[in-house]
């Protein structure tokens, strides 16, 4: 690891007052040299109040933008403040902070642009709800075909990005259900993607953002976005993306 690499953990949060404090405490206890940024996506509960007592960066969006808009705010913050690596981590406790070094390794040592923490690369303790498994296999096949490399966990939001990728995503990031689409966007634009096996927990409390009722809409919408991402032109950023 370069000594001077600046690391930022981006935590999008929407109504996570019950979970977020323990995630941040856990994150700090890893003693990794990283800054923490919580993007409060217009929460209606006490998320912002809880976070503001915890000595981390807090950005409060004036209204709810959706997960993509919140994460992109984090990328913009990382660009503006000169971070070299960004790690995306859910605020609900599903992602385990101790696993972060696994994500960083490929980026620091193998010139990977984005590293995805995958639940399915190896047999792990994580149990996927049945309803989501079908959709995941579906995206796995589609994205693997489009990107030309096997991606096992397309919906995982536990990811690390290098500077070049942060700059690209600060300009181009999907608004809702961004994870599968981002893989196609990056994969088709010459970014190096790699997965590494990580453990995840079941959600502590609160609802997953994808309910069974919405899953059909979700699949259709993402399929459309992925198809569009194949043909879209993206805003290039500076010389670094050349």
């Amino acid at each position: 690891m370069h000594k001077n690499d600046k690391l930022l953990v981006i935590m999008p949060a929407y109504n996570e007052a019950n979970n977020i404090a323990s995630v941040i405490t856990e994150l700090k206890s890893t003693e990794l040299p990283l800054d923490i940024l919580v993007v409060d996506d217009g929460s209606t509960d006490a998320t912002a109040e809880v976070v503001s007592c915890l000595d981390v960066h807090l950005i409060r969006l004036p209204f709810n933008l959706g997960i993509g808009g919140a994460v992109q705010t984090g990328f913009r913050f990382a660009v503006q403040n000169g971070y070299d690596i960004a790690i995306q981590l859910d605020s609900d406790g599903q992602h385990i902070p101790q696993e972060i070094p696994k994500l960083l390794k490929p980026i620091l040592r193998e010139r990977v642009d984005m590293c995805i923490g995958s639940r399915y690369l190896q047999q792990t303790e994580y149990q996927t709800p049945l309803s989501r498994r079908i959709g995941m296999i579906f995206f796995s096949i589609i994205n693997s075909l489009l990107v030309g490399q096997r991606i096992t966990d397309n919906t995982s939001g536990f990811r690390a990005f290098n500077r070049r990728t942060i700059e690209f995503l600060a300009e181009n990031y999907p608004i809702d259900y961004p994870e599968p689409e981002t893989i196609v966007m990056l994969g088709r634009n010459g970014f190096h993607i790699q997965e590494c096996a990580v453990n995840m927990r079941k959600r502590k409390s609160g609802e997953s953002s994808i309910t069974t009722l919405l899953s059909f809409y979700y699949m259709f919408k993402v399929l459309l976005s992925i198809t569009a991402a194949l043909f879209k032109t993206f805003r290039k950023t500076g010389a670094l993306s050349l």
């Binding site: 960066h57 950005i59 409060r60 969006l61 004036p62 705010t73 913009r76």
Partner: protein, 120 residues
């Protein structure tokens, strides 16, 4: 085309143009978004007044009943407007998102500055 339909169509297209003009005058819509409305109204007006043109157009399309061609064109204009509006909404949504993000980033920066001020 019967005189009654022609009359109705005339009222409709003139009425549309008048309402749009009134809305511009009251600054309820911007000129650049009114153009597509005026365009549609004028096309309908021309085809209503110039009966031969409508007949020729209908024959060209293989529509036997000329007023049907008028409705077809009206429907097409309606679609064009909706598409235009969808484009505008998408652009506004994108700009709105960027603004919200910038506000969040600026607020954070402001807060840091205020904290620094207090500690000095």
């Amino acid at each position: 085309m019967t005189l009654r339909i022609q009359f109705l169509s005339l009222i409709f297209s003139l009425g549309t143009a008048a309402i749009v003009f009134e809305l511009i005058r009251k600054r309820r819509i911007m000129e650049k978004y009114s153009l597509i409305w005026f365009g549609s109204a004028i096309v309908l007006l021309i085809l209503t007044v110039w009966k031969d043109l409508l007949e020729k157009f209908a024959t060209f399309l293989g529509i036997y009943y000329a007023p049907s061609a008028l409705f077809t064109i009206a429907a097409f204009c309606g679609m064009a407007m909706l598409l235009h509006i969808t484009v505008v909404i998408s652009r506004l949504t994108e700009q709105n998102k960027t603004l919200a993000q910038e506000i969040g980033l600026l607020r954070h920066k402001l807060q840091l500055l205020e904290q620094n001020d207090q500690s000095v």
